[in-house]
Amino acid sequence: MAEYLIETRNLTRTFGSRREKVTAVDNVSLGIHEGEVVCLVGESGCGKTTTGKMIAGLLQPTAGQVLYRGRDVWAQDKNSFKDYRLGVQIVHQDPYASLNPSHTIYQILSAPLLHHSLATDRREARERVAKLLGIVDLTPVEDFLTKYPHQLSGGQRQRVSVARAITVDPSFIVADEAVSMVDVSIRVGLLNMLSRLKEELGVTFLFITHDLAVAKFFAWEGRIAVMYVGSLVEVASTPQLVNDPLHPYSKALLAAVPEADPVLTRHKERVRLRSQDIPSLLDLPSGCRFHPRCPFFEEGLCDVEWPALAPVGDGRYVACHRAAQG
């Protein structure tokens, strides 16, 4: 197996008390190569944000490991953990909530530089901040330095969040629904800017989104990992996944998603689900978690045994008894 930059092994996180326990992330194993883009897609509540937070070092796993260049992140000493936290940055969904409203853009961006001694004096900090703003296309720089977050548009604010994430020169960025709150006409610009970071700075991305169209666009040369109720159900290269999904849940998602093309969207073949209800994390179905909704359900198999995520060739992984049967 090739060396991964980031790897999770049986990553698990539970919430709640002893009496009422919810497993938000259950045995997630995923490897991300250096320079790669992996999109984590799934519906709300499937555990994708929790997974992202554990990978970014913001939330301690209940079980399992996060490995960074082969080393267990959560088992390191304090200093190595601090280095890790610097090397891995997270960009949140809501730029209205993630930027301090009483700080200017300069203050927001120079604080991490000065705090981590990445700039020795104010003059150097100012130069670095100007360069960062240039990278995220907030130019002319002078127009932005003294502004407060509320004076910027949503798209500009999200660019500031990205600039802040790259102040510390991270090798890995977890982008959690980073373009979801931004209007359509601005979104592509943001995605292209993020793609440039990937190419020019060599940043590796875990891109978390519920939007399959965005995942396809951003990770066309990378991979998509599909999550359902806490577990990975399929991992494949993006073209494979959008054109030939193997897991019934991936198939259902791709068949259900409306497309911005009237003829295409009205002639899609449907996948008929057996039930519309998303299972509650408090009362998970036995066996495969998708079995109560799955059109390919086989009694005595799918409702009994939980299918593990297994390789099916071509670098693809699927967690499905039926897909494995072919």
Binding site: G155, Q156, V184, L212, V242, P258, E259, R266
Partner: protein, 356 residues
């Protein structure tokens, strides 16, 4: 008494709703927000018309103005909203508030974006439904319950379970279906839906989209739905109206809008949205950001972001005029935009053909 609102004058075969030169403004500290600016359109019988546009383009304000549910700070500066049913014509802006209440559910119902906020959290679904019916119709309690159960079943819910549930006991998709059922309770001729599926997951959204198609086909109401999401319009609309800075800049049949757009903003939106299945497409973003509705650009409101801008665009605002049959555009450079759109689709078809 409550039928008085409908018998003002008799007109012949005409659309259920006509909006003429509608202007809506909000007064805020900084000045006047011009949210809806000179909007004209007809809603045809049985059609589904989609209003698309980005946040702050005035689409929700327009929807609210149609049933006069605007906040206090908003005023309808001028314009005419004409409603027609069974040969009778109603001047919506002239209705008294009491008559307006009847109008809102019986003639024109609206379903809002946030399905959770639309409910009173301490009342069971049945109590909320009954409150609505009580306020609008003389139906007896038993009759009301019966038709509520029928409609809940119709939107694919378990009627007996849902009717006695509290809103928090239902999922987002279920609540959205309850709202749909409630909106149809008094058999309105028009249904306005504001971002009906925005907060929902993909599979739930699909259920609601399919349900809306079926309801419309079977019940025959006309539908206006407001969305920032082009794919919803591609899926549901018969006609699409693109809104920008408070005005309708393009209006036409769904296939014309997507495959033969003639306004640069519509083309820009289409080029900025990827499809999921199929080949990779290059996407182009629209430069700049939407204008401040307090301080609008001169001339065409889109000119600061438009690649076709000329001096005329900076000086003069184009009005929505018929460009070709049934397809209206507010742009001085529609021919150029159309050529560009043709090139775009040819390239994509080429992709697809080369791939077969």
């Amino acid at each position: 008494m409550k039928n008085d609102i409908l018998n003002q004058s008799v007109s012949q075969k005409s659309p259920p709703l006509s909006v003429q030169d509608l202007w809506v403004e909000y007064k805020i500290e900084r000045g006047m927000v011009k949210a809806v600016r000179g909007v004209n359109f007809d809603l045809r019988k049985g059609e589904s018309l989609s209003l698309i546009g980005e946040s702050g383009c005035g689409k929700t304000t327009l929807g609210l103005a149609l049933i006069r549910l605007l906040v206090k700070a908003a005023t309808i500066r001028q314009g005419q909203i004409t409603y027609r049913r069974d040969g009778r014509t109603t001047d919506v802006l002239a209705l008294k508030e009491r008559d307006m209440r009847y109008f809102r559910w019986r003639e024109c119902a609206m379903v809002f974006q946030s399905a959770l906020n639309a409910f009173n959290p301490v009342l069971r679904i049945w109590d909320q439904i009954y409150d609505t019916i009580k306020a609008h119709d003389g139906m007896s309690r038993d009759q009301a319950r019966e038709s509520a159960l029928r409609l809940l079943g119709y939107v694919q819910l378990d009627p007996e379970r849902v009717i006695d549930a509290y809103p928090h006991e239902l999922s987002g998709g279920m609540r959205q279906r309850v709202l749909l059922a409630m909106s149809l309770l008094l058999d309105p001729q028009i249904l306005i839906l504001d971002e009906p599926t925005t907060a929902l997951d993909i599979l739930t959204q699909r259920t609601i989209l399919d349900l809306m198609k079926r309801l419309k086909a079977e019940m025959g109401f006309s539908m206006i739905f407001i969305s920032h999401d082009l794919s919803i319009a591609a899926e549901l609309a018969d006609r699409v109206a693109t809104m920008y800075a408070g005005g309708i800049v393009e209006l036409g049949p769904v296939n014309d809008i997507f495959y033969r757009p003639a306004h640069p903003y519509t083309l820009g939106l289409i080029r900025a949205v990827p499809t999921v299945t199929g080949e990779f497409e290059d996407l182009v973003s629209i430069p700049g950001s939407p204008p401040d509705l307090i301080d609008l650009p001169s001339g065409c409101t889109f000119h600061p972001r438009c690649p076709y801008t000329t001096d005329r665009c900076r000086a003069e605002e184009p009005v929505l005029t018929l460009y070709e049959e049934d397809h209206a555009v507010a742009c001085f450079h529609s021919d150029q935009v159309r050529r560009e759109a043709d090139v775009m689709w040819k390239q994509q078809d080429h992709h697809a053909a080369g791939d077969m």
